[in-house]
Symmetry: C2
Subunit: 399 residues, 2 copies
């Protein structure tokens, strides 16, 4: 049998990116030592361009610093970074019903209502990761409380802010199930809890059997409450390849840890389908939004190239390569890796640009915002290193 790929130079490159570029950037610029929590909106050089604090971003940083603490790259001070965020958010972030407000001002006063179910998701992940790092009961209680809120809100994620009327009930959103698939893995790993297994299994099955369409080989983002797809509507035809690829590696991870090997070939096909559909053959990179039938997109940014889409695609392709040893995934990984490192990295100020036009030129120089933070990129680097090391350890043996 031929030798497997030599990932050693890649592992070194990814480790260096994590430890000498990405983590130092966020440590130097992203922590609010005066009021607690983190600065979210960082310009190219790390200066703060807006002081507000956004719940998704804040809890994601708790998660990331707590996760790093117990990684091979941990430093004792990372635990302090995570803990101060946890304290700031549990003190300031909650609304009356225990949901997390979407935004706080720098001091921690709530400025935006708790309209997003995903605030709960990232709170659960952050608190669970901190529990694993500290063993402290308060962290565990917070993770369970956030999980309970997430599960409670799933039936009506937008609550009072939902603008849908009875003639068109809100569609089921792939994101809600995809995130639960990931939450399940994180919470089970960190809390050693079996409390959520049934709901997580159901979420995985929803993605694979309802949102994925094997005939069209694309994953729909919005399906009707009866699980059908409204192909007449732009909203029904909406495709988000990066979201789909992220979902794929969450499910591969779930399959591996829960002895569900029958999921692997299905997800491998999903990854191939999404990349065949989503890769831009003219300029390279993966489109942000697409229409299943190639009709117009409403979103003005549909043809842009976003960092997180490519981060998630890197993890998905490596994960699929390790579990299937199908060389097409290694080829995709090489292609996405080359394009991403060439276009997204900021060689001058460190970290990665988030937003490129279709040609791959940066349209924004920011490093952090309401929607971009210390999360997809470091998580991708850690996950890719892990997959590459496992590939080497496992030799030619697939899953």
């Amino acid at each position: 049998m031929p030798a497997g790929p030599d990932f050693a130079p890649d592992i070194e490159r990814y480790e260096k990116e994590l430890t000498r570029n990405v983590v130092p950037f966020w440590e130097a610029h992203g922590i609010d030592h005066e009021y607690g929590g983190y600065f979210d909106s960082l310009d190219r050089d790390g200066s703060v361009w807006d002081p507000d604090k956004w719940m998704w971003m804040q809890w994601r940083k708790v998660f990331m610093f707590a996760t790093l603490t117990r990684s091979a790259y941990g430093e004792p001070r990372y635990l302090d970074h995570a803990r101060q965020g946890f304290e700031f958010l549990t003190r300031h972030g909650k609304s009356g019903d225990g949901s997390y407000c979407f935004g706080l001002n720098r001091k921690g006063e709530p400025i935006v209502a708790p309209y997003s179910i995903y605030s709960e998701a990232f709170a659960a992940m952050g608190a669970a990761a901190l529990y694993k790092a500290t063993g402290e009961d308060a962290c565990r209680a917070e993770a369970d409380s956030a999980m309970a809120n997430y599960l409670r809100r799933m039936a009506n994620p937008k609550g009072q802010w939902d603008k849908s009327l009875p003639a068109r009930p809100a569609r089921l959103s792939h994101g809600v199930y995809m995130i639960l698939a990931n939450l399940g893995t994180v919470v089970k790993d960190c809390l050693q809890s079996a409390d959520y297994e049934a709901q997580v299994a159901e979420a995985v099955d929803m993605v694979v059997h309802c949102f994925w369409n094997p005939e069209r080989r694309i994953l729909f983002e919005n399906i009707d409450p009866d699980f059908s797809v409204d192909m007449e509507s732009g909203d029904g035809r909406h495709i988000n390849p990066g979201h789909g690829l992220e979902s794929c590696w969450f499910i591969l991870q779930y399959a591996e840890r829960n002895q569900r090997p029958e999921l692997v070939p299905v997800v491998a096909d999903m990854i191939k389908g999404l990349l065949d559909f989503g890769w831009d053959r003219e300029y390279g990179g993966i489109y942000y939004f697409m229409d299943a039938l190639g009709r117009p997109k409403l979103e003005l940014e549909w043809d842009m190239k976003l960092w997180w889409v490519h981060n998630e695609a890197l993890v998905a392709t490596l994960y699929a390569y390790r579990l299937t040893r199908d060389p097409v995934f290694l080829e995709w990984f090489r292609q996405i890796d080359a394009w991403s490192w060439e276009h997204f990295r900021d060689p001058e100020y460190g970290e990665w640009f988030g937003y490129l036009n279709r040609r791959g030129e940066p349209t924004h120089l920011l490093k952090g915002s309401k929607w971009k933070c210390f999360f997809h990129l470091p998580r991708c680097l850690i996950a890719c290193i892990e997959q590459m090391k496992l590939c080497a350890d496992e030799g030619q043996q697939g899953y």
Copy 2:
């Protein structure tokens, strides 16, 4: 004194564009003869890519067909187009409190709640224009009802869908005042009513004295309830040059019709400031969104070039030229006119593209959507023709 500019070829070009390109496209593809109302989402060739009906777009088409009816380009059937829309919307579009739902399905069943105050604005304009064309009491009553709803909602435009919390009350939005400045002119003209004069005068003063910043020579979109600008926040620094330019010609029109000549030099300076700030000196065209201090924009589409921005800039520069005879406005008009006609027109299928990337290349081929319809372009063509004809009639005499 030198002769004024010869607009005759431009007038001919604009008239031809209106009567042989834009109106025929929407007449041929944009009317739902089966269920009533209009198709909003039209692809490049006029085919329907989504059947839903969006209140802003629907009422704008009532307005446009009713306005065309009584123009020099009127045809009797335009009145039928407007009237059937009015009947569809008054039958299907209203919620319990008289506000207009934001969206209907093709049959007219409400699918999106009445969250936008601007639905009221376009209903008032559409119904008022139809009243002027028909003299029918039902149209007048509808216009007055929509105006009353608009004025009632101004204190809390987003109502129950507002996500702001007490530590950061919703900011005052330039759009709410700008639209009232235009509504005042349309409703006064069509209804011959003096009912709203005080509120309209106040809105004009708000734009000129609170949203416009003469030191920075930019117009802010979001100011705090105490009229200050939060320069620390991306939201406070948000600039929308096209919105500003649209506001400017609304106020010039208001100034001319209400004997407020002292407003003209201020607005002339606003137009110069907005164009100096908003014009892209590298690729041409006017940016969509900008930051007052050049910090990052949150919106991914900030550097795109939108058709309506350029339509409104054409009207604003011609209007300012006629009223001031300052040659800088004629130069701007020539420059924007050349760039717009070169980049936005679709020479193959007619009508104009709506969305170009920074370089001026179309990113979307659609002609209609939830946000683009038969409104800015035909209104611009009619208004520009009118201003050019008045320029010729008035000779060298400014306002």
